[in-house]
């Protein structure tokens, strides 16, 4: 009888069992390893060794471990920025452009405030970077709130516009007069972030990243604004019905998101590069989207995901140096990991049942 033969079916469940949670990242890693090892072999390297260099060796020495935190610094900020917007249902894809807006403010003020003490300069620059990111985020946000213009399109396109603005600045008025390179003049000593660990690249910027994560956690879970944001993000009609001002909430979330992304630009200029350059960001604004998604839009998740991506970033350098494979393999690994992890998130909502 056909009816007596048991069939295996995917059944959707609302509450996946708790024990699958910790298993997911491990499983994601294994699947990613299998997917990418072919490419690594093709690049004439041993996949096991490559993964060792990618994920383990950066943690084996103090210098390398610090470098992981350096890589994680902008990611903590862009991850927090994107999470803030996404939690309110505003899909800010423009963190990359907002980061550069903040970086421009930092590079400009860093030179202009040369002769002013650091105690005044650094807070001013951070505030200016936040304001610049906010300003750049304002246009798409107001279009969204007033005219329902899709923010995914506008924020994404503004990234390119910002790219041209940076390029125009660096090839025009801000071209370094000493070297002639397309980079802004070096910022003054009073604008440079102090080091958290002497003779390393780990600066005050990392601390700002941690503060951003803490603030994100506090706002989302402990404040009424955070609850309003999540209500708007998860169910606009219901939030509207309950008396929440959806437009205002969306606007504030979008602006704060842009501001935090702007601070990421400040951290890069004042903490690492000391110039504005067009390669300032290795797509940190976009990686922030990945981090926010993998961190399931909560602060703890974003923190862990930022550190993990910092590790992969730092590891990718090591892999290419030690094994002589292209750095792009690191990026491929990141991208593959994202896709696999997203797939896992979807699949954990299902279980296999005998029908």
């Amino acid at each position: 009888m056909e009816n007596s033969r048991p069939k295996l079916r995917f059944v959707k469940t609302d509450n996946p069992p708790v024990w699958v949670r910790p298993l997911l990242p491990v499983l994601a890693l294994v699947v990613t390893f299998i997917l990418t090892s072919g490419l690594i072999i093709w690049a004439k390297a041993n996949p096991f060794e490559a993964y060792y260099q990618l994920l383990i060796s950066p943690l084996m020495t103090r210098v390398n471990a610090i470098e992981v935190l350096v890589s994680a610094t902008p990611l903590l900020l862009t991850g927090a920025a994107v999470t803030f917007a996404f939690a309110a249902g505003y899909y800010n894809i423009g963190a990359e452009g907002q980061l550069f807006a903040g970086a421009i403010a930092a590079a400009g003020l860093g030179v202009a405030m040369k002769d002013i003490p650091a105690i005044i300069t650094i807070p001013s620059i951070i505030i200016a970077g936040f304001a610049a990111g906010m300003a750049w985020a304002w246009v798409p946000a107001i279009l969204k709130v007033k005219l329902q213009v899709d923010e995914v399109v506008t924020t994404l396109l503004l990234n390119s516009v910002m790219g041209f603005i940076v390029s125009a600045l660096l090839n025009g008025p801000w071209r370094d007069p000493n070297s002639g390179w397309p980079q802004s003049p070096e910022i003054g000593a009073s604008a440079i972030f102090f080091k958290l660990i002497p003779r390393s690249r780990l600066s005050f910027g990392f601390l700002i990243g941690l503060i951003a994560i803490a603030v994100l956690w506090f706002l989302l879970t402990r404040t009424s604004f955070g609850l309003k944001m999540r209500a708007v993000g998860l169910g606009k009609p219901a939030a509207h019905f309950a008396g929440i001002n959806v437009g205002r909430t969306t606007l504030i979330a979008a602006l704060v998101s842009g501001g935090i992304a702007g601070v990421a630009g400040v951290a890069l200029v004042c903490g690492i590069q000391y110039h504005l350059i067009s390669d300032l960001s290795a797509g940190y604004g976009y990686t922030g989207i990945i981090i926010a998604t993998l961190g399931s839009l909560n602060a703890v998740g974003v923190f862990i995901a930022s550190l993990f991506f910092g590790l992969v970033d730092a590891g990718a350098q090591t892999v290419s140096r030690v094994l002589g494979v292209p750095v792009y393999l690191g990026e491929i690994t990141q991208a593959a990991m994202l896709l696999v992890a997203l797939g896992m998130f979807l699949l954990q909502r299902y279980r296999v049942r005998r029908m």
């Binding site: 402990r222 009424s224 609850l227 209500a231 169910g235 219901a238 929440i244």
Partner: protein, 498 residues
Amino acid sequence: MYIVEMLGITKTFGELVANDNVDFQLRKGEIHALLGENGAGKTTLMRILYGLYRQDTGIIKVDGKPVEIHSPKDAIANGIGMVTQHFALVPPMSVAENIVLGNTDGFVVNRAVIEEKVGAAAERFGIEINPKTLVRHLAVGQRQRVEILKALYRNAKVLILDEPTAVLVPQEVDALFETLNRLKADGLSVIFISHKLHEVTQITDRVTVLRDGKLIGTVDTSSMSQSKLAAMMVGRETFGVTRTDEQKQPQKATLRIQNLCAKNDQGMQSLTNITLDVHEGEILGIAGVGGNGQMELAETLCGVRACANGSIKLEGKELIGQTPAGFTQAGVGRIPEDRHEGMVGDLTVTENLALEHLNEFTRNGVLDHKAIRRQSELLIKQYQIKAKPNDPIRTLSGGNMQKVLLARVLSRNPKAVIVPQPTRGLDVGATDYVRQQLLEQKERGAAVLLISEDLDEILALSDRIAVIYEGEIVGILPAAEATPERLGLLMSGAVKEH
């Protein structure tokens, strides 16, 4: 000889047993009612027969031969057609095009040919419809006729009608019954899904009653009275809610609505000069066929739809121009029509309960989680919500969702309560509970505006009944004077009583 037999049908959805070993046998040339309350498993059983679901166990026979029905296509091949509550018609296409859709012979569709064929079929089956008319120009009753013709055109010998009268005014119901009787005389077998007893006794030959997914029995309609059928259907003789029919002296008008006009989402005028007084300690029912402005009226009174003109006064205070929060503050208890859209499914019960009154739980912008939790535990107990405080709302049943909404609103003792379609989709127990709560609000002295498409509900609860038709109030009657017939005439727009 049975034309369709369904034997030992069982179908489960997760934990829910929708059909539990059900037998159903349909004779040739009969109209057979499938009677039961919402959630009794009627629609599930018919969806299995039409191939939309697959039974877990059990067999289906057509003309005595076992058949496998995996899809509607198989069902149609076996001569089974179904008209669901939500019509599957393409509004910009003509009747003829809709009828041949998916059933065209060959690649090229010749409009003149199909119109002639459909016209001939309509004539043969005695269904009055012009094949050239665009479906979007048709009234609901006519669209239903198109759906029936579509099934017959595909040589259906068995026609399943899922609550066909739910969308019709009484006069259209009469026309439908005439059509069905004629088709029956031609040898068609009809399965008539319903929970309305007077229709079942009026039109059907036999009745199969389901309750909680189980077969209660199949009987000849002529041998049964409505009250006996009701007893089979609900398992008890009377309904839980009874109203006290004492006439109160005229009270003060708590909620005064004057000349209210509003547009629908398409920008069309959908409310015209609505003028209503809802008195202290009264339930005013708004009856009407769905889509006559009820949704817009509820949304305007809840402050979530801008009104073009008019005035809404609560105890003399003008509410027009207020935000939704302003309505709540003023003392309007607002219950959303669509409970899934009215609550944030991924937030918890506790969070949803607090959402409308966040200011009370906030000090310097920081939430007082303890107070929120205390309120939630209290309300869960008080309103018998079967959920834990931290359960996401989306995991709750419809009845428990509605209880959360009631708890959020009624625990504030609002002066006026706006309740659109409060029991839509709920089971008997939850329906009784919601109705009881509304009666308690009335006892307390609240002005309750009940908007419902369920006439029985309106008749059971209201002190006065207003009928809405095409966005206008076409009559207001005291409950004692309202008969279904009189309301039916008003609801169909045939008369106005002012």
